[in-house]
Symmetry: C2
Subunit: 274 residues, 2 copies
């Protein structure tokens, strides 16, 4: 998917919501456990109930790998269902991969070609040659960790480096010089909303994927105030707060209600800004 | 596997060789492609021919994920084959994972419980709470990236931080204070052998997983000179240099010859040191 197609969809739906499909069998409605593929059935119902309210879905690969072959099959079925029924939706493999060059190429092939995701999250520790293989793919997007929403973000990401700025800023700045850097987006946690204006000075035009709204305590209004750009430039993710809104048979409609609340807030914010 | 069992195996075999099972279908002997599971058949023959010369095998998950469900099944069959036939072998899932706490717990479950690997490689960018979930598992080992062997290692890992030392040293030092840090090992690339003595000052007792000998140009003698400790403390990996020694029907015996050369050099070094 092109960035322009994503922006059009955001403006059409008045939403920049991403829903995280982090499916834990111990948390989904018990009646689904009797089905052959509970994870896929859960995802399908969530997607059917919420696709008009969001622009992106983000399965975190950990939750699928934890169930071995069956989990990987559920992931395949989920991305195939999305690509077949909702090609207008932006899909994110939240995989946080990264390895030496030829190995990163294999990951890129796995997620961009075989599974046909629009994007993948990657970790920057191994530097330029671990990320550039992902950037070679046209109309595919590589979402690099910059400043995450967990407490461990303060261990290394905010550590001051020799040029007087925190590591995550050096990561952002360096990445702008990499080949095909236009295919980069960045993960920036919502729990640090005031950091957004400084981040926007470095990457004014890039999309930011923002976890941490809701369950992790971040404020949507604050994130938008400091993080939005002329193309919106934000994908705000919510996972548990939406998909586990209820454990009853009607879980999907409860999820839709939660998504609707966020979409309405987003529409208000967009009405003020555009 | 306990660290002590690994050390015993190293001393018994006079080897601290790890063989990387990075199987690319475009590089394996063509006659295997006619079989139902070429990747597993390749691995099985390599293991049968080399298990007496090495103490560890390290499949890199990228090479399995690139083939989707079939690849994941090959990975499962490979680890099951190793655990059933060679329980004395230390197994490493080279996965370079890392995510927020509850998600890292899912990865730990996937690789330590479902697949029953002895260890997994992880990336440190997200800090303490992204790694500690892996450290909770008894007799399982978490091998964190410190200083890697690729050119991108110089992008961020060697960047000087506010305390006057490079990032990778801050990563090493911080990690020593994490809960169950005794379950940590570290990735240190062989292409930077002179760094090993400084690294040993920080983590004198930890095992180091060392890629970059051979194909990437590192010297085994140099690595041992600066990196070995009283328990050997090294696992030196070779992947392509061994497994792709030949593309003929007798590829496994050629691989064994390459492994034998390295094991002999290791035995000489150990004879000098112990």
């Amino acid at each position: 998917m092109t960035t322009q197609a994503l922006v059009s969809e955001i403006k059409k739906k008045q939403s920049f919501l991403c829903i995280g499909l982090d499916v834990d069998l111990s948390k989904i409605p018990p009646h689904l456990l009797e089905l052959e593929d509970p994870i896929f059935e859960f995802n399908k119902e969530i997607i059917q109930a919420t696709h008009h309210l969001c622009v992106a879905y983000k399965p975190n690969t950990a939750f699928y790998e934890a169930y071995g072959l069956k989990g990987w099959r559920s992931l395949e079925k989920t991305i195939n269902y999305l690509n077949t029924n909702h090609p207008e939706i932006f899909t994110i493999a939240d995989a946080k991969r990264g390895d030496i060059g030829n190995t990163s190429s294999m990951y890129a092939k796995a997620f961009f070609e075989d599974l046909a995701f629009d994007s993948i999250t990657v970790a920057p520790y191994m530097g330029k040659d671990s990320i550039e293989p992902f950037l070679e793919f046209s109309n595919k997007h590589t979402i690099m960790l910059a400043l995450t929403s967990n407490s461990g973000a303060y261990d290394f990401q905010t550590m001051t480096t020799i040029n007087g700025q925190p590591l995550y800023k050096s990561v952002l700045e360096s990445s702008k010089n990499w080949k095909n850097s236009k295919n980069l987006m960045y993960v920036v946690g919502a729990t640090k909303a005031t950091y957004f204006s400084e981040i926007r000075n470095i990457v004014p035009d890039s999309f930011l994927l923002v976890p941490g709204v809701g369950a992790q305590g971040g404020s949507l209004a604050e994130v938008c105030k400091y993080g939005m750009n002329a193309q919106v430039g934000l994908l705000v993710n919510s996972s548990r707060g939406i998909i586990y809104a209820s454990s009853g048979i009607d879980f999907a409609s409860h999820a839709a209600q939660k998504a609707q609340v966020i979409q309405s807030e987003m529409a208000h914010i967009m009405a003020d800004c555009f």
